[in-house]
Symmetry: C2
Subunit: 410 residues, 2 copies
Amino acid sequence: MARIVQRIVQKYGGSSLGDIDRIKRVAERVKAARDAGDEVAVVVSAMAGVTDQLADWVREVAPLHDAREYDVVVATGEQVTSGLLALALQDLGVPARSWHGWQLPIHTDDEHGVARIREVRTEDIERRLAEGEVAVVAGFQGVGSGGRVTTLGRGGSDTSAVALAAALGADRCDIFTDVEGVFTADPRIVAQARKLDKITYEEMLEMASQGAKVLQTRAVEIAMKHQVRVQVLSSFADTPGTLLVDEDEIVEQELVSGIAYSRDEAKITLVGVPDRPGVAAAIFGPLADANVNVDMIVQNVSADGASTDLTFTVAKADLEPAIAALERVNRDLEFKALKSDSNVVKVSVIGVGMRSHAGVARQMFQALADKGINIQAISTSEIKISVLIAEDYVELALRALHSAYGLDSR
Amino acid sequence: MARIVQRIVQKYGGSSLGDIDRIKRVAERVKAARDAGDEVAVVVSAMAGVTDQLADWVREVAPLHDAREYDVVVATGEQVTSGLLALALQDLGVPARSWHGWQLPIHTDDEHGVARIREVRTEDIERRLAEGEVAVVAGFQGVGSGGRVTTLGRGGSDTSAVALAAALGADRCDIFTDVEGVFTADPRIVAQARKLDKITYEEMLEMASQGAKVLQTRAVEIAMKHQVRVQVLSSFADTPGTLLVDEDEIVEQELVSGIAYSRDEAKITLVGVPDRPGVAAAIFGPLADANVNVDMIVQNVSADGASTDLTFTVAKADLEPAIAALERVNRDLEFKALKSDSNVVKVSVIGVGMRSHAGVARQMFQALADKGINIQAISTSEIKISVLIAEDYVELALRALHSAYGLDSR
């Protein structure tokens, strides 16, 4: 039998909570959902800019800082908004209370700054939801094994919301943000970009991993695993957003659903690497030890049979540590030179449709070639093709690909 | 046998932690104490102005607010400084970690906004202090019986510090502030005011209760009860401050040690109150029910034997609720008129010396009369005489009394 009372988790981002007036408007939106008879739990981010300010103070105090104390400081922004929103709801006559990570609790591992949620305990709030109280949960934070405050990384409140929705068995998780949903491409760059009514979990996961900032990757992973019906929508409009769904819920599947890009890329080329077994391990082992994630890898065909060039990409922040790690092991590696370039962007076309269609990659390379854009590296997965290009060409590339795959608004 | 390692609690106020540079300077001061071989626990306030900003937001969201959510919001200021100071200490090579009220925990009652500390658990930090780690404890906050965040009221970090010092059996509790210690009178008004090297707990308690803002009253109560050696001193100077001591530690006791004043007073006069038994209960009962504290009370001699005038004082914030409560019960009371006046100040002279000396009150009344200052009400305790005067005369009265009791710097 279907449950008559719906259980909804709503998440509001920092721009939706940017000042007291906006917090009051969010309270009205929450009240409307509750007045409709739903059980409502709300997850809040910090007021826009607050987390950045707190993080700046931490760096000003100690450039090389203890991640545990970083978490203590930056987690306070969400505590403020959780209390203020609970008060705004009470002021509208809606029973509400705030919850911190340690109060539910939301248990995480101990990887401070990038902690992963292990368990969300909901006994207390389920009882109160049933009594008509709204739970206002501070996003982005949890509590580690030693009872210390942890945070979940950039965009972590999305993850808090989806994990809470999964734990509550919520009927829907509405992620309110400052955009109207998930678009076929960044509408600030591609004027023809369209809002998608639906997108599959897998596509959203690739979009998020490849640079689309609309949802944290980890949030999509949890949504996919627990089949949480996540909707991304604007808190400033009253239009439906984008719903994350299973593949079989999408009737007319496009070949490509969206195009993502990431500026957070840096390229390293090792020139004259000896072409012998074990060399890749000798390079990528030390990088892994230095906690550097390597993304795209291109190995040139050896010209002389003795040495080759190796190109790979890392996150911009990892460029310096990567170079340092490589220079430490250079005596064993014996490469001739190390070149690096931060002015690169990764552009990805994503769509579950490409599983069953050939030619998607060729179409991409042709569209870029037609505009004279050089491809520096390529990587693919079952539902995604990514290319590395020079930063100057990113807008041109996005618009060309958007047209080439027939995504422009009709 | 004397303990060789001293155990010190230091407390820093909001102006000492006003920006990142000041936080770094505080870290250096803490480091110096620890480098001298002491075990050091630090209690911090919020950065200057932050608690006010947070409280303003609360009032903007909901004028009649839930004290539990108020506490959630305003407690965050101390969490930020606890994390930042721990980081600044680590940056100087000093092992340190932050502690929130719920982490130690500091158990309080459930009177949100004005909670009282019930118990400070110190097992964890004692072990870490012994290992050389500095504990940085967020002041002003604790945790109530239901696991909710509580705060201790204005100046509550003083109380946190003294309660922690008592629980740790600390050798000293240094309260660092923006003044050099406890003065014979407010030096901003009385240029001749002198810093006291020592003051008794009892005198300090009266000073704090009668309006001196240098220490929270509750902090002095705990210090007196547990014989904590509290020192009030400046974080901007390297001079000794004022030490709170037992009476027998002061060799040359002055008649009057200090003069305090409070602008937080309002006067209510009930004109034509029937002069019959039970009338006082009929007046002060409803005020107590409305949580209004009555301070000074003056009942005029009945002229006609049938009715009298009754004057008393309340805190300024309680004036409106007091008037409302009295008007509700006026049918039974049958007073003829209610007059109120907020332009009054209470001036108090304080000294344990007056226990054994007569004439202190006469000296006070004479000094005020000589300046033409009218006394509107009087109250006394064993070591204190307070008078209510018109606000316009407060500076004149303070200077006159300071001279009359021979307190001017010599």
